[in-house]
Symmetry: C2
Subunit: 200 residues, 2 copies
């Protein structure tokens, strides 16, 4: 048993032990303004209906846009785009047009009014259903009405094809990483009740 | 540009393109009953106060326990424990004592009344603040009041030490994977406004 340390959270310290988290880039449009923001705090919330959540700090420009918008996209990207994503994350749409500034390719969502990231391997088109203030962030809950997925990304049982796609994963404080594709393990064929090394 | 396919969600099909997700094992106790359940849908929600969310299907035994409990733990584990986690995920505490059945080591939380996973590299002790029904799941929101973290897991800036810890990551349908520790990149030292290859 290795040694453990105790941290009591305080307002001055941030900690990132709940990471790694895949990066979701939120796309949103209000009038003629559109913007992309990477969010590490993104999560599945429901199968039926299919709901997805993105948590955005109340002070963010994207928070303002999401509060006004009726829909948004959630875009997943490969690790090779790390510097573009970092640029999108460390700048604000209140001071510039990030899409022009960082030369971001976009495409148009089919079912909603929002931009999609051109180089995403997967995009969810989401209709905003709820905005829930939780602490210093708002959880925006979207119903996924359409999914665009790169053919290369389609794996067995609608899981990510990790042999083809190395997703961008966040560790906190501008530190990024990706998956070890050789470490994938499937335990699907084990009986439901499986005890280490023993079948019942 | 590679070819994209379109999926319109329907109630019969599950898709896992929002994954990978790190696995959080929820620990909860009500009276003399205690239980652990792995949750892929877990997420940071706020810095101040520090809030963390776990999304649990309304039909799960753990949902019943979390609805009654005032606190819970969130435990993060290394990939080498994959078969134990899969056992915890594919069984139900309504029919057995998972902790005995799968020989799970536990320890006691300090500030709350809940079990911690003995082999976790990090555990959050959470006081339940909100239970929000969202679709077919409830998002249980906990305030992190104490963190126990293995010394080996402590990395720079309170990020995960990925050279030491290979976290268990979920892809859906009993498929698991971990990180490629050699792929870690830090962009922390770049200027805030950085354009691919150019500084301003």
């Amino acid at each position: 048993m290795s040694e453990k340390i105790t941290i009591i959270p305080d307002p001055k310290t941030k900690f990132f032990y709940g990471y790694p988290s895949n990066v979701a880039v939120i796309g949103v449009r209000v009038g003629d303004k559109q913007n992309f923001m990477p969010a590490a705090w993104n999560v599945g919330l429901s199968y039926h209906p299919p709901l997805y959540g993105v948590s955005v700090g109340t002070e963010r420009h994207t928070h303002k846009l999401l509060s006004e918008a009726e829909s948004f996209t959630v875009n997943f990207i490969e690790s090779k785009y790390v510097s573009k994503i970092r640029s999108l994350g460390r700048s604000t749409g209140s001071e510039m047009d990030k899409i022009k500034e960082f030369n971001i390719s976009t495409s148009e969502a089919e079912k909603i009014n929002a931009p999609m990231l051109g180089f995403a391997y997967c995009s969810f088109e989401c209709v905003k259903k709820e905005s829930i203030l939780i602490g210093d962030h708002t959880l925006f809950v979207g119903e996924i009405v359409l999914i665009k997925v790169d053919k290369r990304a389609v794996g067995i049982y609608n899981t990510l094809h990790t042999g083809e796609i190395s997703p961008l994963i966040y560790l906190g404080i501008d530190n990024y990483i990706t998956l070890d594709k050789n470490s994938r393990t499937s335990l699907k064929e084990l009986p439901p009740h499986y005890k280490d090394g023993k079948f019942r």
